[in-house]
Symmetry: C2
Subunit: 503 residues, 2 copies
Amino acid sequence: MSADDRFDELLRRLGVIDDLVRAGTLLGWDEETKMPVAGAEARAEQRATVEAVTHEHRVDPVLGELLEALRPFEESHDPESFEASVIRVARRDYEKAVRVPPELRAALERAGSLGYRAWLRARAENDFAVMLPHFRRNLELRREYVACFSPQGDHYDVVLDDYEPGTTTAEVETIFARIKACLVPMIRAVTEHEPIDDSCLRGSFPRPAQHRVSMAILEAWGMDDTTWRLDYTVHPFEVSMAPGDIRLTTRFDEDNIHGIFSCLHEFGHGLYERQIDPRFARTPLADGVSSAFHESQSRMWENLVGRRTSTWRFFYPALQRELPAFADVPLDTFVRALNKVAPTLRRVDADEVTYCLHVILRFELERDLLDGRLDVRDLPEAFDAKMREYLGLQPPDLANGVLQDVHWSDMSIGYFPTYALGNVVSVQLWERAEADLGDLDESFERGEFSDLAEWLREHVHRHGRTYEPRDLLRRTVGTGMDPEAYLAYLQRELQELFGSAVA
Amino acid sequence: MSADDRFDELLRRLGVIDDLVRAGTLLGWDEETKMPVAGAEARAEQRATVEAVTHEHRVDPVLGELLEALRPFEESHDPESFEASVIRVARRDYEKAVRVPPELRAALERAGSLGYRAWLRARAENDFAVMLPHFRRNLELRREYVACFSPQGDHYDVVLDDYEPGTTTAEVETIFARIKACLVPMIRAVTEHEPIDDSCLRGSFPRPAQHRVSMAILEAWGMDDTTWRLDYTVHPFEVSMAPGDIRLTTRFDEDNIHGIFSCLHEFGHGLYERQIDPRFARTPLADGVSSAFHESQSRMWENLVGRRTSTWRFFYPALQRELPAFADVPLDTFVRALNKVAPTLRRVDADEVTYCLHVILRFELERDLLDGRLDVRDLPEAFDAKMREYLGLQPPDLANGVLQDVHWSDMSIGYFPTYALGNVVSVQLWERAEADLGDLDESFERGEFSDLAEWLREHVHRHGRTYEPRDLLRRTVGTGMDPEAYLAYLQRELQELFGSAVA
């Protein structure tokens, strides 16, 4: 077989894997948006089978041999070329996949599924004891998973690498220490201040009107119905079936407008996948480079663009037309309410300032769990202690405390920090975009958002997984992950909300 | 491995195959109902991959060995038992699947896909020459397919068996000869008669109102939203993802109410899959026993129930409320219009009486094509000649003539006859149900349809593929396929519409 034939065969095999992954994606999307409830049991089997079959293709030894045989071909190409990048990234995926024996994968999946059901029950009964044996079992399996990679340094590096390739735990700790040092006193100052009046955001907001407002914004941002969908679900998410098939989901409640902001958040994820180089389709390059980068996009469109005065100068009249509850609310009052800062019990309700502390406390706890410094039995107490220390709040029950997130139900450790890193990256990218494009507020006020979307395509999206996250950030903003821009941004936010009192 | 372990392993493997089939089903359903158009290219790849991976599992030699090793286990069970039936049907599927080399399957799929695109173009340009090479290539491959089964008798038996297991071409010919002998003169008499006035079925019928009427009927028939869905598409169809996840599709046009009857038709298919024994889930028993049986169910609910005076006595007031165009149309006029008999150019528009002739002429032509008695070059002329002879109509162009159906675009021969056989079976089952249940009109008038649905569950649906179609029919109605009941039914229909003039 010639090297070109081998490369074609590699693309064919990677295409099959991608097709199977997307088939699994559709089974999941449909389950959350369309499936009649009585289809649930069969759907669980279908998803498990497609996942297992996909995995068999991922770890096929023939794929490994092909990647090995393609080393000279790879070296004969520019490392940034499509050919070299596909081989490099596919080899990285293959080498990680074969490390984990199929029995351990199956055990993780089974225990995760049992853990999820126990989590639902433990919340409903407010009884941590229900969850305890599942936490123990899942943590044990997670440690076995880590051991598959024979880590020389920090064990947490292994789980972090699944979401944030190449970033070390030590780097995250440095960034988080800096953020915490700034935020804890900032938030204390906020709580001593007169609270922001966000009463205008509570009321009666018909769902169809919220839908129309969301679509008006999303369409102005570039969504169109030849390529995108918006559907309803319980927990909003975004998936893509292909660069030409991007699916957002949201949930509209009648008594608040969170659902509109879910749309804006998921749009950020969707735009990333929409703008990846179409040539990468059906290869492992056709994905976001890391969870933090993906999250940076959703938080940029939800917060940096979506809660901005200039943006609402353009969209507020449409909102007022559709939702008469806002007819007599001045724009400034509305935007202040959108940007309210106040400690909350639940991570998903948190504002831009307090959000990172929710994440940091989870990161600290899951580090300690993995390393055995914290026993799962003592987790509720440790969680509450940090909530009191960082946010000045005591959770009244488990569902609003340690059991609020689904992520730990199967001990999916390593994901939480990427939420906060996403905030950090979002402001780094934003500042660079503003430096390149000039003042964006002027265009936003006119309803023009394509300059930003194009900038993101050019500098971030189109590259997919071609570069390591670290290299992509350095190419784009010139430095590594650095929280200073983000902290300065929060400082300005608070200044604007409260005047000099908090600064 | 013990026999019980082997049987468990067989069920596991059959479960995987079923899961993959359903994953493919969902990719298809989504493509036709939800997918943004720009997702089409990727979707074609995804479907082809899932199909290929499913096929690999279907022909896995380990499956063949397992089925062989299970012979004593099978023989130790009652042939009607779950265990013996699963093994028997799985072996039948396996033995058919391994007959066809993967290269031929791939060639059929490729040529079929090219044929489909050519068919669209040939219709648009009204140019048979566009289609000719594709017809030739697909017919050649279809003959190779037939040869894989080394047929001793009629080659058409092989393709027929894919849809109507165990039924021979000779049987079909006998049935069709009898139907044709009755219908051709019947239709001549109809055309000499004053046409039925169906002008009330043309007008302005808002889609949301048609949707509400359809849902009212379907819910009275047993549809509920925990288990069923109704979505919009271009060409209506039904699929099931599981016995608890049944999906109907329809298309509502503003200027007619065909879409309501599409719902009723697809409901018949859906009810079949809904009422298969839940224990059969994830095995090859969980499917309709044959295409004719499946079609008998859709045509029973669409025609025998759905165009019946007693049924509309109950639903007509709701229809009149939702669609004011019917406010002044008497019930009798409406039902007569629904049952209008008149030759049409297009099979899908045909009434109950003329429908079978559309099918019979296609059956005769595809027999001749397969056997080489008719060259594809001469197909348009042969098609038009039969249209003139059987229905007295001359197609004005290809899209309303020989290229009206998609089925020949890839030379999918063998399916057409099952449409007419479905009509035959539907009336055989109906008469047996009436004999068992007594006069159904009385309950229909009161909006009660569950007796019929339950009868169908008990005698047909729950058995899935446990019996051969022939045996199931004999168990249920006591005879083989027999067109007399169907022909007598049509005779009564005409009598009612035209009085004695046609009888």
